[in-house]
Symmetry: C2
Subunit: 224 residues, 2 copies
């Protein structure tokens, strides 16, 4: 792709298809920012021409997205080798305008395309899972009871190299300031997702300290 600067994903029919009339970006860092901020993603597959959309927790290393599931899942098995569309979306607010037509939402959404592959090397899979947990909760992996071979065997790690991707963001007041004479409230009702006060497991020994790293994560307002 000699005409595509390396800091953007290629612009194709596939990644462009839903972006008519909308501001978007193919810049890798813009795409990554949304993927990395989103606590979950929705993975879409077409199996025998039927669409399936499943939510899951993803993680990313460079251009590679990872997710995982039960090795016993016939569904995960059936998607290995299939084309996938991974979409990460966060809703940031309702945009209340003067006309129904100008109502909107503020949001961030990234859409990435590629092929779902199984990470079949157990060492690679184990390492990916460790980076998944550490990426979410720094310091946690080493505090846990070590993963057993059995557990690793029961877990399928999937990955998808991002071939194409686009991000769309709306972060603005209502788009109809010219209608300010309509006597109705207009503006944005922000929407925010936060982590709340931790709820200890019922059987947790009372003296067990809450990890500082988790406390910092919660306080930061980030979701991962």
């Amino acid at each position: 792709m000699p005409d595509t600067p390396s800091d953007t994903f290629p612009v194709t029919q596939r990644s462009r298809i839903r972006r008519a009339h909308q501001r978007g970006s193919y810049v890798r860092d813009d795409v990554y920012a949304v993927i990395d901020a989103s606590p979950l993603c929705h993975v879409g597959y077409a199996i025998d021409g039927e669409p399936y959309v499943t939510p899951t927790i993803h993680w990313r290393e460079g251009d590679v997205l990872y997710w995982h599931g039960s090795a016993a899942s016939r569904f995960l098995e059936s998607v290995v080798g299939a084309r996938a569309c991974v979409t990460c979306s966060m809703m940031d607010g309702y945009v209340m305008a003067r006309s129904a037509f100008s109502h909107s939402v503020n949001y961030r959404s990234a859409m990435a395309f590629g092929v779902a592959e199984l990470v079949d090397d157990p060492d690679h899979a184990a390492d990916a899972l460790r980076r998944f947990v550490e990426g979410l909760f720094p310091g946690r992996w080493n505090s846990l009871r070590p993963m057993t071979r059995q557990e690793l065997k029961a877990t399928s790690v999937l990955k998808m190299t991002i071939e194409e991707a686009a991000v769309k963001v709306r972060d603005a007041p209502p788009g109809d300031p010219q209608e300010a004479d309509v006597p109705v409230w207009a503006g944005v009702i922000p929407m925010e997702t936060r982590m709340g006060a931790p709820v200890p497991a019922p059987e947790l020994p009372k003296e067990t300290p809450f990890p500082e790293e988790l406390a910092r994560l919660i306080a930061s307002g980030r979701l991962r």
Copy 2:
């Protein structure tokens, strides 16, 4: 479907495919509860065998899901008549266990299957849009500048009759109480999405009151 009680969706290969080893429900009211609580959905289509997953705001009337978009969107145009999978997911918390394997998330997710259709009768489309706005923000429609014929023409309303659907919910402490002797904090870090303080549009006349219905909605903690 004489053997299917009318309060559940049919259990098929399609709706069952990802539910191995997981608690789920096909009960209509359970499915509706998740669909109706979720501020957005992800719609998946397969176009020429390629999966696409796009976020949007949905609304529901009985077994019919609605969403909308720009009539100029080649994407929306291309999905009319296509099979669709609409998934609504809310993440309710991180479940922190003693092993990486037992880490999980609390969540609610509904997955519905059907065929995307265009609402091509303009009166039906206008009425659906009114019910969309009123469903989100009771009382708002009549306070707005009326929708023009032009605006209605520029809006495509899509609908999908739910043929099959399933819902999955996890709402529980960590699943490994037998490992309580592992010296690490275990429990749930709840995640909650809330609406925040409204931000008036810059040009909004200062004396414009904030609608009581919206204030009540924000205070209720519901997201729609």
